[in-house]
Amino acid sequence: MTPRENDTWLYEISSEKKAFDLNLKEVWRYRDLLILFVKRDITTVYKQTILGPLWYFIQPLFTSVIFTLVFNNLGSISTGSVPPFLFNLAGITAWNYFTACFTGTSNTFRSNAGIFGKVYFPRVIMPMSVTISNLMKFGIQLLIFIIFYCYYLLQGFQLSPNLHLLLFPVYIVMMALMGLGLGMTISSMTTKYRDLNVLVGFAVSLLMYVSAVPYPLSEARKKLPATVADFVSYNPLSQIIEGFRYMVLNTGTFSWSGFIYTFIISIVTFLIGLAIFNRTEKSFIDTV
């Protein structure tokens, strides 16, 4: 063997772990797989159901009705000039995308152990495909929101989005990164410690109440104890929800510092998730 031959190894398989090995080149090579997974998820979810994609409409609508009855009618939370139903629908639509990404990716390793145990492809394709296929669900739910938006406009409510709407794509990315980051972390840890899976279910529903989904941040400041109110407003998720409502309904507050803060947090969450995910993917099959 000549010394030259030594230098030309295409890749190496070893136990070495690189923390931030995104391996973009390989992900790019498997881009067709990503697309096919997304397509599979979308086309197969509602096969052999009667209502099909209608389920996407029903869940946010019913939740909004309940929230309006409980929080705004019973609990008399003020939503300003915005109709409470529309206010809740906006919050829930955005929140749903985050939870779909989070819960969808939080069992990546366990639910795909069958495939992962038989064949190699960049594992990160799986959570990525979940995030992307959930975009479609988000799109449909956004459509209902727009329909009700128009309905209330015709009813004579004073509603107007503002220029911050241009930041909308950034908000989607932030939600996706946050959901993906947390989901990847949880999914990596559940390969060894199953306890976390139980946690995810109720943590998500509890998290919603401290993420300013059914109430505006201003109400939290007014009615909650100071420490709790601080917690809610420093929660990056409430920043996202509040920001989303601000840009479409022109209600609540927006600050650039809050925006940048949220942006950084979501990137950091994603990177931490990715690092843990990369550490796990090499040998999770031995412990799952």
């Binding site: 295409l10 997974f37 052999q48 040998s283």
Partner: protein
Amino acid sequence: MIILKAENISKQYRLGNVGTGTLSHDLNRFWHKIRGKEDPYLKVGAVNDRSSKATEEYVWALRDINFEVREGEVLGIIGKNGAGKSTLLKILSRVTSPTTGIIKTKGRIASLLEVGTGFHPELTGRENIYLNGAILGMTRAEITAKLDEIIQFSGCEMYIDTPVKRYSSGMTVRLAFAVAAHLEPDILVVDEVLAVGDAEFQKKAVGKMQDISQGDGRTVLFVSHNMAAVKNLCTRAIVLEHGKTVFEGDTDEAINFYIRNQNIRFQFNSENRKKLSNDIFIENIRVCNSMNEIIDTALSGENILIEFSIANLNNTAPIHVGAGVYSQDDEQQFHCSTEVLDQPYISTKSKIIAQLSIPKWPLTNGHYYFNFYLRRNSELMDHIVQGIWIKSEKGDYYETGIVPSWNKGFYCEFEWN
């Protein structure tokens, strides 16, 4: 050119229940790591020997495996169940990483540990070809280019736009293998996926495997315990035992080495058994000579009696029994079944004694084993692989007092006029 090189590959597994004490071991590892010390659990670990009692918590499934593969070579990896073949395969296909050591490769590896990975029952055959192909590492364009060929190879043209959940299991396997057979990686890692489908399709599959390895000059790593397939396909082989390489070299020599170390038992042994019912199964088998004495050596020309004791509770359906004789390297020699004679056993008794008589034992020198099966209403009820071994020696086949001189093949009756 060396295309793949494995250096000191070892893999350690934890025995017993993973989960109990995992956290404490993880913390201990972490504590050693931050002090810059080596993983304390790498120093312990028992040799991978399934049958001995576990004395330590960790086991080495593979220990210091080294080998090189040249381009265009077909390397066979052989060994008993539990010798570490599957672990090595998993490492090669990047499903899991080695505990220590490194594998360097110059080509893209595609692995076939299973056919049909990722098939989705709700998708049609065509959609599944794309999905499965992409999972195995093909791009959309590559699949499109080969789509017609794949569909044709699978023989499922008619159902290609029907969801796979409506397929028979055989059709699913054919479609899956068709996709796998059209993979074109630099290095192909294959597990024993050949043993699928009906006889016609198996032939097709083996043919395709031979095309891949010989015709196209592809590098293949083939893991199997089917010696006949290894002999056919491989140019070189390594033998694994208890997680270590015990032999590396020429295929024939490797197979001989492996066979010498095989576990040959001359008594009924149902270790490799697939029993599908408790109502009807093979209880015991004896091999006797014409005097009804149990033997472990058969002389050519001798009258051999094989006696099956079959437990037959609550049933009167016709029962078919069969015995196949195989050589040490898994080549089938001959087969004796009640089906070809159309003589099923019909009995209401709870125990049936079925006697197979072979009037003139036709084989020469060597070790042979029997596979046995039992069918009720043509449904397989019991199947035993390597149920009993027999040693065969040359004898006075032609009853002339002259022992034939040849050592290979069969004896047959003949006449000269």
